[in-house]
């Protein structure tokens, strides 16, 4: 990247400027700086190529339980002082917030290896050079490629008048490809701290193969099917768990998990945890409030163990607050197979689903959701992919369809347009509700 990020000492200077301007009882500061470049291609050529530098700082101040917030992306003393004044003006006028809690005390943060020089050193020209073989491979196979290759560096900081202080730098890169040919398509997506770990060549081949294999798709009737969900599809169906597992809704009564903490909610061989230091995930050492992250087991052997407790709800119930779920890993403790290909090989008949799209809540009471299959949906018979099939809409709930897992792989990298990076197995489920068919 061409830019020098705000260093820890720069952040400390910003913090000192804000603290010396502040008159409130509590002051909490959140800071970010970064530059990211995204090369976007479509129709086998470049479509957009952008580079953005974005600093930002925000402050939340409180007089007693009267709270105000303000943010700016200008880091000079006058702008920072103005921001503090605005937040304090708001706080003086705002009604008391009965749920307000003072900033966290100083935290001990675990070390998360979030910065990779390999990613930081890549220029826009280098992004273009790494994209070229992807486009060439699509063109050689008479496919049309669309996708992105991006890299970014960023710095985050939190600080508070309580002594809380955290600063970290990180890198992130993403590669995605949708290869299409008239009536067929194949897709891949990866995101990683290390741009060299994106596995661009192998992933390109997989997307190209899917596009070639899914030509002249058959139409299957809507209904209940055994399915093989690739990790991205597991992310699509299981992802809503992390939105729904919050303790406040649980205690107020509008949660799908009312009465279910400590009960079996999934196949008893499934365990879901968050692992912030996992080398292939995008964990950070602290969350938005400055709370130190830690490994957490959410579901253990199918039993719901943990909800997300915001600080107020945690205090009300006498438990530790939980950092926002990030860096999730789902694992299967039964016998696993080595790859998606082996999962296919061991299947009599199933619909193989690469990815889901436009996933939305239908009934929050039991976590029923809907969405469409996208970019690689196949019929598997007698251990082989026999045809591409037209895409389905589904209606199901992770709390229903993961009651029984027939087979699974070890956790694999997964990131989608709608879900962040996770480690998830590919699974075969005996019953999944593919509720209608579309025209392609």
């Amino acid at each position: 990247m061409s830019v020098k990020l705000a260093s820890e000492s720069t952040f400390r200077r910003i913090v000192d400027t804000i603290f010396s301007a502040a008159t409130a009882e509590h002051t909490f500061i959140s800071f970010g700086d970064g530059e990211s470049s995204t090369l976007r291609f479509a129709n086998n050529q470049v479509a957009q190529n952008v580079s953005v530098r974005e600093p930002s700082v925000s402050v939340r101040v409180a007089f007693g339980k009267k709270v105000g917030s303000a943010s700016t992306n200008r880091l000079d003393t006058a702008s920072l002082t103005t921001m503090v004044r605005q937040a304090e003006t708001i706080a003086r006028l705002a009604p008391e917030d009965p749920e307000y809690l003072p900033p966290l005390p100083k935290q001990d943060y675990m070390r998360v290896p979030s910065f990779r020089d390999s990613t930081a050193s890549v220029s826009p020209m280098e992004l273009a050079k790494r994209t070229k073989p992807v486009i060439d491979q699509c063109a050689r196979n008479n496919l049309v490629g669309a996708g992105i290759l991006s890299n970014g560096v960023s710095a985050r900081g939190v600080a508070a008048s309580s002594g809380l202080f955290g600063y970290a730098q990180s890198t992130e890169s993403e590669f995605s490809l949708t290869a299409t040919a008239g009536d067929s398509s194949g897709w891949t997506f990866n995101g990683h701290r290390d741009i060299d770990a994106l596995d661009i060549a192998a992933r390109t081949k997989r997307a190209v193969d899917k596009a070639l294999q899914s030509k002249e798709p058959r139409e299957l009737p809507a209904g209940h099917y055994p399915v093989i969900l690739e990790p991205a599809a597991v992310a699509g169906v299981f992802g809503p768990f992390f939105f729904a597992a919050d303790a406040k809704s649980y205690y107020k009564g509008n949660s799908p998990f009312v009465g279910k903490v400590g009960s079996t909610v999934l196949d008893s061989r499934l365990t879901v945890r968050t692992d912030p230091t996992h080398p292939d995930l995008l964990g950070d050492s602290f969350d938005g409030s400055g709370l130190s992250v830690r490994p957490i087991v959410w579901i253990e052997n199918g039993v719901l163990k943990q909800l997300y407790y915001d600080r107020f709800t945690a205090k009300e119930h006498g438990v530790e607050p939980t950092p926002r779920p990030s860096a999730p890993v789902m694992s299967f403790s039964g016998p696993t197979v080595g790859s998606i290909d082996e999962l296919i090989a061991g299947t009599k008949r199933a619909v193989l689903i690469t990815n889901f799209w436009y996933i939305r809540s239908v009934d929050p009471k039991d976590l029923t959701i809907t969405g469409m299959t996208r970019d690689g949906t196949f019929l598997v018979e007698d251990g082989k992919i026999v045809a591409g099939v037209k895409n389905f809409r589904f209606h199901d709930s992770p709390m229903r369809c993961f009651q029984q897992v027939d087979a699974a792989t070890a956790p694999m990298e997964s990131i989608t347009m709608e879900r962040g990076k996770m480690m998830l197995p590919a699974v075969r489920l005996p019953d999944f509700h593919l509720s209608s068919v579309t025209k392609f």
Binding site: S2, F28, G32, S36, R40, F41, A42, N43, Q45, V46, Q48, N49, V50, S51, V52, E54, P55, S56, S58, V59, S71, T72, N73, A87, I90, L93, A94, P95, P98, M125, L127, A146, L177, T180, K252, G253, N254, L282, S326, W357, I359, R360, V362, D363, P364, K365, T368, T370, M372, R374, R393, H395, E418, R419, G420, S435, S436, T438, K439, F440
Partner: protein, 527 residues
């Protein structure tokens, strides 16, 4: 629209400080006429040294050998107040400013953006835009050719009566707290929420072609909701004030307090209601509901960049391909969908877009036949049009402009809501927006709603819950056999339309009168 549960850095900052803008989705039953200023009459002066910085950037872009370049300098001021369960859960104020520079080098685009308004950084950013365009050039197959547009020099200002930034915070907090308090008086209500949102954008646009535009744009929105619970279910009901380019008078007129008892009572009635037996029903859909149907099933598939494959990796493509123009029977003869970026108050009515193209009005669907697309200067020529439709927008200084849905609305017909209902034997009336999902080519959709009533023998009856209908876009619009008249016409603004990589939020307004659709498939999602 889409979501990601890993928040990006920009979101992190706002979430951390509790200043996230209230992205409010929902229906509402009001809209207002606007007495706006003519464009250019009393527009704003550009900020300080912005014109000089703009010309400095453009001179660097030209010196880099580029055939076209433009710069947008932008200052955004956003305020939000949020309420939850009888408390104000956050009050936030956000200032965000910076500039974005586009450079077109031998037909290949580069874009760079920065928040540092010093001349040296403006030059660095302009040079980076050129460097990026040169990198793009090695992956270029066919050069970008921009459709011609006259050179414009103009100043645009949103008309308003009451500047929302001057309304005392106490008054805004009390508005939400009062609505929440009333909601909680209803037995069975367990949760409440509310939000008020406003944003002002001051923008200076300049291009190497000589166009210079200054903007002072304002928008407001808000609403509240209630969640009711009984022994075995919980359900919500919303009241939302559609996003609009106007002032605080729009919020005042919505009268939250007098709406609150109805909203709470309907939440309770809804949770205690039945769900329909699945099957074919005639549906009468209200304007708030239709605004989302139009957005998803007409707005997105008629974005020309999607139809050309630009969004194949993210937002998707379109079944409405250019070879279908003038041929595709999209809907029945009652279906007239018109794009209008000149209508005052609508979210995409900004005088000019981020290509510097003037706002226009044109047909998307005429008496059921597919007639037009939303376009920008880059893609207009690919369907033989010699001028862009002026639908190119970026969501901030740091985002590159892309094709965006225009203010597409369903033209009024000659019916009334009552006459539409009177001619239904066994049907459902749907108000507001609920669960929605559609495939990436925009054929297979499902929509819910915010509130549902059964229609029996021409009369609206008891409330229903969990109504979900599913269909295929052209079959659905071809089943439309009546649209209510202009008296029923309402406008509903959006600010959270997701598209692009990196992702951007689009703003536009969809207007409609109530309309009737015959024999639509109402499903049981848990069958």
């Amino acid at each position: 629209m889409s979501e990601r549960n890993s928040i990006n850095r920009r979101e992190f900052i706002h979430v951390a400080a509790g200043t996230a803008a209230g992205l409010y989705l929902g229906g509402c039953s009001m809209s207002r006429p606007f007495a706006d200023l003519p464009a250019g009459a009393m527009g704003p002066a550009p900020k300080g040294d912005w014109p000089e910085l703009a010309q400095l950037a453009l001179s660097r872009v030209k010196a880099g050998g580029c055939s076209y370049g433009d710069i947008r300098l932008l200052e955004t001021h956003n305020q939000s107040v949020r309420a939850e369960d009888r408390r104000i859960s956050s009050v936030g104020e956000r200032f965000d400013s910076g500039f974005g520079i586009r450079a077109l080098y031998n037909g290949a685009w580069g874009f760079a953006a920065s928040a540092d308004f010093t001349p040296a950084e403006v030059e660095r950013t302009a040079e980076r835009a050129v460097e990026i365009a040169r990198a793009s050039h090695i992956l270029m197959q066919s050069p970008v050719k921009l459709a011609d547009e006259p050179v414009h020099r103009d100043r645009i200002k949103t008309a308003f009566k009451v500047d929302p930034f001057t309304v005392p915070l106490e008054e805004r907090c009390n508005l939400l707290l009062n609505a929440c308090e009333i909601v909680h008086k209803e037995k069975g209500i367990i949760r409440s929420n509310g939000s008020l949102w406003t944003q002002r954008d001051i923008k200076h646009f300049a291009s190497t072609e000589g166009t210079v535009l200054d903007f002072d744009l304002l928008a407001v929105g808000g609403g509240f909701g209630a969640t009711a619970k009984n022994e075995d279910d919980f359900q919500s009901r919303e009241f939302s004030v559609p996003f609009i380019r106007s002032g605080y008078e729009h919020i005042t007129a919505a009268d939250f307090v007098s709406q609150a008892p109805r909203v709470a009572a309907q939440a309770v009635e809804k949770v205690n209601s039945k769900q329909p037996t699945p099957g074919k029903f005639d549906l009468v859909l209200d304007p708030a509901h239709l605004s989302l149907t139009i957005h998803e099933s007409c707005g997105h598939p008629t974005e020309l960049d999607r139809a050309l494959g630009y969004e194949a990796n993210y937002a998707g493509t379109s079944f409405m391909t250019p070879d279908q123009l003038g041929k595709l029977r999209y809907g029945s003869k009652h279906v007239n969908l018109v794009a209008d970026n000149t209508r005052q108050g609508a979210m995409a009515s900004t005088g000019y877009d981020d290509d510097g193209v003037a706002g226009q009005r044109w047909a998307i669907v005429e008496e059921g036949v597919f007639r037009g697309y939303s376009t920008n200067r880059e893609v207009a020529g690919s369907i033989g049009e010699n001028r862009s439709r002026g639908s190119c927008r970026a969501d901030s200084w740091s985002s590159v402009p892309i094709v965006r849905i225009a203010n597409i609305g369903l033209e009024p017909g000659s019916e009334t809501r009552d006459s539409l209902i009177a001619d239904v034997k066994d049907g459902i009336y749907i108000e507001g927006r609920g669960s929605f999902s559609i495939d990436q080519k925009r054929y297979n959709f499902q929509f819910g709603g915010d509130a549902f009533w059964e229609i029996k023998n021409g009369k609206r009856g008891a409330m229903l819950k969990n109504v979900i209908y599913n269909g295929i876009t052209p079959e659905f619009w071809n089943s439309c056999d009546g649209v209510a008249d202009r008296k029923h016409w309402q406008e509903h603004g959006f600010i959270n339309c997701g598209k692009g990589q990196p992702g951007q939020s689009g703003w536009m307004t969809h207007a409609a009168s109530d309309a009737r659709f015959r024999q639509v498939n109402v499903i049981n999602p848990k069958a």
